[in-house]
């Protein structure tokens, strides 16, 4: 199965780079977190971003989204420099973000959480609609009028993913999207990611389930202490227990 997944994707050319970060240095106050990180996602590509706790995965994502301002380096979307663009502008260019620890709006109902985010993609097409999201996560359909804070942890997670899909992104960034999901649902999420991938939407996956990540992604990037220590085909990594142990502690 893993074979098939990887084989179906021809390597993308550099020309259709969707999101790119070059030489990022990010600080929180005086602590230097990212040390010159290069990172790129091409159209339709799925990337697994891995690393142990506190290595800078989330920081990298936030730096690219303008939620944290890198002190050095360039972020560009489809070749356009967006280093200093506002977060909403970056998001508008077709990027959706599922943050770790969720980020639902507790004072909005489930329905409102979804509806407020609805947007067509950059080409004006809406593949993901309210109905489709509810169909994907029937559990949410049963809780439409619950406040966001009145959901179980896993329901909140589904809501966040559903909300991101409502923006019809070209690139979906999932930071620990399966955290707290029951195996069955987690499997569903992986299934959805697979489907998303098949539909040509690019994804960045950060997840503790390294096996699933590597199985689903075209390429893997591993961070250690804010530096990219591995970047290449996922298989390369998964086939090399030594690397796995050195970088990921497994």
């Amino acid at each position: 199965m893993t074979e098939a997944l990887n084989a179906s994707r021809p390597p993308a050319s550099a020309a259709d780079t969707l999101l790119e970060a070059a030489g990022l240095h990010t600080f929180y106050g005086i602590s230097h977190i990212l040390h010159g990180v290069d990172f790129a996602v091409r159209t339709g590509e799925t990337i697994g971003l891995m690393g142990r706790n506190g290595m800078g995965k989330t920081t990298l994502i936030k730096s690219m989204l303008g939620l944290v301002r890198p002190r050095q380096g360039i972020v560009s979307v489809r070749g356009v420099d967006m280093t200093h663009a506002e977060t909403h502008a970056i998001a508008r260019s077709g990027i959706a973000y599922v943050p770790e620890g969720r980020g639902i709006f507790p004072n909005l109902s489930v329905r409102e959480n979804l509806v407020m985010a609805a947007r067509a993609n950059v080409k004006g097409v809406s593949e993901w609609t309210f109905d489709r999201v509810i169909h994907t996560f029937p559990r949410l359909g049963e809780r439409l009028n619950n406040g966001g804070a009145q959901l179980s942890g896993g329901e909140q997670q589904m809501l966040t993913i559903g909300r991101a899909l409502m923006t019809n992104p070209d690139l979906l960034i999932l930071d620990e999207a399966t955290e707290g999901l029951a195996p069955l649902i987690a499997r569903e999420i992986w299934g959805i990611i697979k489907a998303i991938r098949a539909s040509g939407i690019a994804t960045i996956i950060v997840d503790k389930n390294y096996a699933a990540v590597m199985a689903l992604s075209d390429r893997s990037v591993v961070l250690v202490k804010g530096r990219v220590v591995f970047s290449g085909e996922s298989r390369e990594l998964s086939d090399n227990p030594d690397l796995m142990h050195r970088f990921l502690g497994v």
């Binding site: 506002e86 502008a89 980020g103 985010a117």
Partner: protein
């Protein structure tokens, strides 16, 4: 108390309550929905009243004055949000308290410099200047009733905006997590600027259409400030419906308080607030989470 008398007092109370809602509507938006503590709310109410007075004495018509003044207050609101308020969203709410307290002083003094310290009146538009007789010696001014109508419209409009439109959802979402809203591709900064300006304009608008009833005088904002907060809080923060009901309740309580327990009339509102909040710590309609 005979029945007719009682009914008229009931009308008084409801009408006064609607007036309160009118004045508090801007605060419902800025404080109740956006979560910004704006002590200068009364100042914008005052500015509205003074604008109504000075522009209507220039143009000779209150309607014209209002039409000119509203864009002015929107611009003022946008300017303030961009220049000042915006920098405080990430900080402790109490800095908003400090800043808007400073603004009260600034606006009060500017008012004195620009418009002086006199008491002024604004004429009721001729169309609405008659009264409807209720009893042999009591009648009801049509203008008051007209304002009540405007209040109800405003309440409905606000409710629709906040609860039913996507914009309303975005505003509410922004109050809980701005970063997340931005990550969804929504320019929350712009939205907040506009909504803040709308709130300011509402406060000023209340001052304008209230000017013929209340007259225009220095410090007129100070008196309404607290009562507006009381309205929003009793109703439950974030609830337009709550604010409306709270204003009606307060209107009735004050009206009947003055008649039935005149010695305690001053306290009635605060007593009511204390009771409501001790009984329901989140206000009448507050707190979804």
């Amino acid at each position: 108390m005979d029945l007719a008398f009682f009914l008229i007092q009931l009308l008084n109370g409801l009408q006064y309550g609607l007036l309160l809602f009118l004045v508090a509507s801007g605060l419902t938006l800025i404080f109740g929905i956006m979560g910004i503590i704006n002590l200068a709310h009364g100042s914008f109410y005052m500015i509205g009243a003074y604008l109504a007075w000075s522009l209507s004495s220039m143009t000779g018509s209150l309607t014209a004055a209002i039409l000119i003044a509203i864009p002015l207050t929107v611009v003022l609101g946008m300017g303030l949000e961009r220049l000042l308020i915006q920098h405080l969203y990430k900080r402790d709410h109490l800095y908003q308290v400090l800043l808007t307290y400073g603004l009260i002083l600034v606006f009060e003094e500017l008012r004195s410099v620009i418009w002086g310290d006199d008491v002024h009146g604004v004429a009721v538009p001729a169309l609405l200047s008659h009264s409807i007789p209720l009893t042999e010696n009591l009648s009801y001014p049509v203008y008051r009733l007209a304002i009540s109508g405007v209040c109800l419209l405003l309440a409905a409009g606000l409710y629709f905006l906040i609860q039913k439109t996507r914009l309303g959802m975005m505003i509410r979402a922004g109050a809980s997590n701005r970063e997340m809203v931005q990550s969804l591709g929504i320019d929350i900064k712009l939205i907040y600027t506009l909504v803040f300006a709308l709130g300011i304009a509402l406060a000023a608008f209340a001052g304008m259409i209230n000017a013929p009833l209340s007259s225009v005088f220095p410090n007129m904002g100070g008196g309404v400030l607290i009562i507006c907060f009381v309205v929003v809080v009793i109703g439950g923060i974030g609830s337009v419906k709550g604010a409306l009901i709270a204003s009606l309740v307060i209107g009735l309580a004050e009206t009947f308080g003055q008649v039935l327990v005149p010695e305690l009339a001053g306290m009635v509102v605060y007593f009511l607030m204390a009771v409501v909040l001790v009984w329901r710590p989140e206000g009448l309609f507050g707190g979804r989470s």
